[in-house]
C-alpha cells in the first residue's frame, strides 16, 4: 500500500522515531495496539523498517537475536497491557545474558492510569527488577531524551535491557521542538588496578595447572582477541561457558570445549584439577559450578568482570580484576610479557587427554540419532553461518558440537533458558546479518511456542533455515524424569505433534523431511542448497539423552556418561 502523503502534525511518536534514527536504528520488531498507535502513525511511510511479528514475545526475542549476533542494540515495541506483558520473558532473557535491548511500550493515557483502565498494566513496576531500568515518560519534551538515554544505558558497562513506557496522550501530544538533550554518560568501564593485574600475573607465573574460562563478558570482538592472545601466549588450556563459545580459536588445540552440566569431560576435569582458575566475564552460573563449595575449593581464582556485584557472589575471588574483559586481559598479557612468560603446553596436553570423545546413546536400528545428525549437520554447514538454538536437549547437543568462529555466531538463551527463543531470535539474526547463513536449531516443544512466526518469515522472506529436531517429547524434562523421577513421564509426551512440513507449506515455506538415517545426508544437502527460508524436519530417536551430565548441584565426580555410569 502506498503511504498517505497527506501532511500531519508531528507528535510525540515522531520524537521516538527521531531518537531511534539518531541511534542508528534501522529495524524494529513489534506489534501494534491501541496505546502505541501514535508511534505507528509516525512510522507510516517512514523509511525505518518495522517487522511485524505475530506475538510480542517474538518481537523481543528477535530484538535479542539481533543484538546477540551483531553487538548492536536490538529494538522492539508493543502496546500497553498484554502487549507489554508479553515482552517480559524476553526482557528477563536479555537481562540474564547481558544483552542490550530497548523496548518501547505504549501506556494508557495519563488520566486513566490507576483506574484499571482497558489494557492498563504497570509495566514499569513489573519490569523494574527485570531490566536495567524502566522509565515512564509523562512529558512530551522528554521523549527523545529518554529514548536516547535508554540506548546509552542498555549498551553501557554490563549491557542489558531498558524499557521506555509512554502514555498514549504523551505520544499523541504535539511534537516539542526543543527536546531536552540526553544526559551525558560517564565512561562506565572500570579499569582493573595495576596492583591487581600484577598479582594476577604473579599467580599465573607460579601456577602449575592453570586454566582460563571465557564467559559472556568475553563476547565482544576485542575481548575475544584478547582471550586468544592470552591463551596462545601461555599455551593455556581453556574452556568457555555456553555464551562464551566462540571466544576460543576453533583451531587452538588447547581449547577444551564447553564447561558445565553438559560440558565436556576434559573441561570439567581440568577446571577441577587446576591450581589457578582465570575467569573472564563469567558469573558462575549454577549450571557451570554445580555445587559451588566443591567447584574449585583449593584453586587461586582470578576473577575478571565489569560488574563488581559478581565478585564473591558465588565463588570467592582470590584476585578480583574489576574491568572490561578486553582491557583487563590485554593488561594482563602486557604485564606477563614484562618478565618471564610461562608456557603450559604440557599441562594443556594432559588436560585434553582427560576427556575423550563425547559420550552418546546409540539409537535403535532404523532410528536417527539426533547427535549423529547434528555431527553431519555441523560438518556440512557453511563455516560462516550464524546458529541460533532454542532450549533443551538439542541446545546442549548443538553447544557441545558447534565450533563458532566468534561468540556472536552462536545465539542461545543461556541464563533464562527460554523455550520459544530460537526461531524468533534467528529472525532477528537474519536482519542483523544480511547475506549470511542463519540457522535456527529448534526442538519440537520450543518451536511450537513461537511457530506462528512462520508468517513473519513468509511476509519478509526472511532467509532463515529452521532445523527442527523432533523427538516427539519435551526431551530435556523427560531426561530428568528418566534419571531423577523414576521414569514418571509427566506431561512430556508430544507424540501427537502436527505435521510440521504441512504447516510450513501452509506458509509457502519450503520443507524437507528426514525420516531416518538412510535419507539424512541427501536431504540435508538439498536443504542446505535451497535458497531462501526453509524448514528441515528431522525425526529423531526419542530416547537419546544428553551426555555427559553432572546432575544439578553435583560435582565433577558425579559426571555421568550414560544412564548406568
Amino acid at each position: 500500500m502506498i503511504p498517505s502523503i497527506v501532511p500531519r502534525p508531528k507528535t510525540g511518536g515522531d520524537a521516538v522515531l527521531e531518537a531511534l534514527e539518531r541511534e542508528g536504528v534501522e529495524v524494529i520488531f513489534g506489534y501494534p495496539g491501541g496505546t502505541i498507535m501514535p508511534f505507528y502513525d509516525a512510522l507510516y511511510g517512514h523509511p525505518m523498517r518495522h517487522i511485524l511479528v505475530r506475538h510480542e514475545a517474538a518481537a523481543v526475542f528477535a530484538a535479542g537475536g539481533f543484538a546477540r549476533t551483531s553487538g548492536r542494540v536490538g529494538v522492539c515495541c508493543a502496546t500497553s497491557g498484554p502487549g507489554a506483558t508479553n515482552l517480559i520473558t524476553g526482557l528477563v532473557d536479555a537481562m540474564m545474558d547481558s544483552i542490550p535491548v530497548v523496548a518501547i511500550t505504549g501506556q494508557v493515557r495519563t488520566g486513566l492510569m490507576g483506574t484499571d483502565g482497558f489494557q492498563e498494566a504497570d509495566v514499569c513496576a513489573i519490569t523494574q527488577c527485570t531490566t536495567k531500568a524502566s522509565w515512564l515518560v509523562t512529558d512530551p519534551a522528554q521523549i527523545y531524551t529518554k529514548v536516547r538515554e535508554a540506548f546509552a544505558l542498555a549498551r553501557s558497562g554490563r549491557p542489558g535491557p531498558v524499557l521506555v513506557d509512554i502514555p498514549t496522550d504523551v505520544l499523541k501530544a504535539a511534537y516539542v521542538d526543543h527536546q531536552a538533550p540526553p544526559r551525558k554518560v560517564r565512561d562506565a568501564k572500570p579499569v582493573a588496578t595495576r596492583e591487581s593485574i600484577a598479582a594476577a600475573a604473579e599467580a599465573i607465573r607460579n601456577a602449575h595447572r592453570p586454566v582460563a574460562i571465557a564467559g559472556g563478558g568475553a563476547r565482544d570482538p576485542k575481548a575475544v582477541a584478547a582471550f586468544r592472545r592470552l591463551t596462545s601466549l601461555l599455551g593455556l588450556p581453556h574452556t568457555t561457558t555456553i555464551v562464551g563459545l566462540g571466544a576460543s580459536d576453533p583451531a587452538d588445540p588447547h581449547g577444551l570445549g564447553m564447561l558445565g552440566m553438559h560440558g565436556t569431560k576434559a573441561a570439567n576435569l581440568t577446571v577441577k584439577s587446576a591450581d589457578v582458575v582465570m575467569v573472564f566475564g563469567m558469573r558462575f552460573d549454577d549450571r557451570v559450578t554445580g555445587r559451588p563449595d566443591r567447584f574449585v575449593p583449593d584453586a587461586t581464582v582470578i576473577h575478571n568482570d565489569i560488574d563488581a556485584t559478581e565478585f564473591d557472589k558465588i565463588i570467592p575471588a582470590s584476585i578480583a580484576l574489576h574491568g572490561d574483559s578486553a582491557d583487563t586481559i590485554n593488561a594482563l598479557c602486557d604485564e606477563l610479557m614484562k618478565g618471564h612468560v610461562p608456557r603450559f603446553d604440557d599441562w594443556a596436553i594432559q588436560a585434553k587427554a582427560m576427556g575423550g570423545p563425547l559420550a552418546r546413546d546409540v539409537a535403535k536400528d532404523g532410528h536417527l540419532s539426533a547427535t549423529d545428525f547434528l555431527d553431519t549437520f555441523f560438518a556440512a554447514m557453511p563455516p560462516d553461518a550464524v546458529v541460533c538454538t532454542d532450549v533443551g536437549q538439542h541446545q546442549m547437543w548443538a553447544a557441545q558440537r558447534i565450533r563458532p568462529q566468534t561468540p556472536r555466531d552462536f545465539c542461545t538463551s543461556a541464563g533464562l533458558g527460554s523455550m520459544g527463543f530460537g526461531f524468533p531470535s534467528a529472525i532477528g539474526a537474519c536482519f542483523a546479518n544480511p547475506g549470511r547463513h542463519v540457522f535456527a536449531i529448534c526442538g519440537d516443544g520450543g518451536f511450537q511456542m513461537t511457530m506462528p512466526e512462520l508468517a513473519t518469515v513468509k511476509r519478509y522472506q526472511v532467509p532463515v533455515k529452521i532445523v527442527l529436531i523432533d523427538n516427539r517429547n519435551l526431551g530435556m524434562v523427560r531426561q530428568w524424569q528418566e534419571l531423577f523421577y523414576d521414569e514418571r513421564y509427566s506431561a512430556t509426551n508430544l507424540s501427537d505433534n502436527p505435521d510440521f512440513c504441512t504447516i510450513a507449506s501452509a506458509y509457502d515455506i519450503a520443507s524437507f523431511r528426514i525420516e531416518g538415517p538412510a535419507d539424512a545426508e541427501a536431504t540435508l544437502a538439498s536443504f542446505l542448497a535451497h535458497t531462501g527460508p526453509a524448514l528441515l524436519h528431522v525425526s529423531c530417536y526419542p530416547d537419546e539423552l544428553v551426555w555427559p551430565m553432572i546432575p544439578s548441584g553435583g560435582v565433577v565426580e558425579d559426571l555421568m556418561e550414560s544412564k548406568t555410569a
Binding site: 514499569c124 513496576a125 523494574q128 527488577c129 536495567k132 531500568a133 538515554e149 546509552a152 544505558l153 553501557s156 558497562g157 544526559r183 551525558k184 554518560v185 560517564r186 562506565a188 560488574d307 563488581a308 556485584t309 564473591d312 557472589k313
Partner: protein
C-alpha cells in the same frame, strides 16, 4: 546491615524493599526523602549474613546502573 541509598529514581526504595524480602531479609527501618532529582533512603536490614551480603551487592548494582549518567 545499614545502607545509605542515593538515587534519582524514587521507585528504587520500593525495589530494594522487595529485593530484601525476596532474599529472606527484612527491611526493619526505612527513612526516605525525595526531591525532584534525588532520593535518599537509609535502610536497616535484618537477615542471614550471606543473604545480606547478596542484598548489598545487588543494591550496589542498581546504584551503578544509575551512576552512568553524569
Amino acid at each position: 546491615m545499614t545502607y545509605h541509598l542515593v538515587v534519582g529514581d524514587p521507585r528504587t526504595v520500593a525495589r530494594v524493599i522487595n529485593m530484601a524480602h525476596r532474599f529472606q531479609c527484612r527491611a526493619t527501618r526505612v527513612d526516605s526523602r525525595s526531591t525532584d532529582d534525588v532520593t535518599t533512603a537509609d535502610f536497616e536490614f535484618a537477615g542471614p549474613q550471606e543473604q545480606l551480603d547478596r542484598l548489598r551487592a545487588q543494591i550496589d548494582r542498581i546504584v551503578q546502573f544509575e551512576k552512568i549518567f553524569v
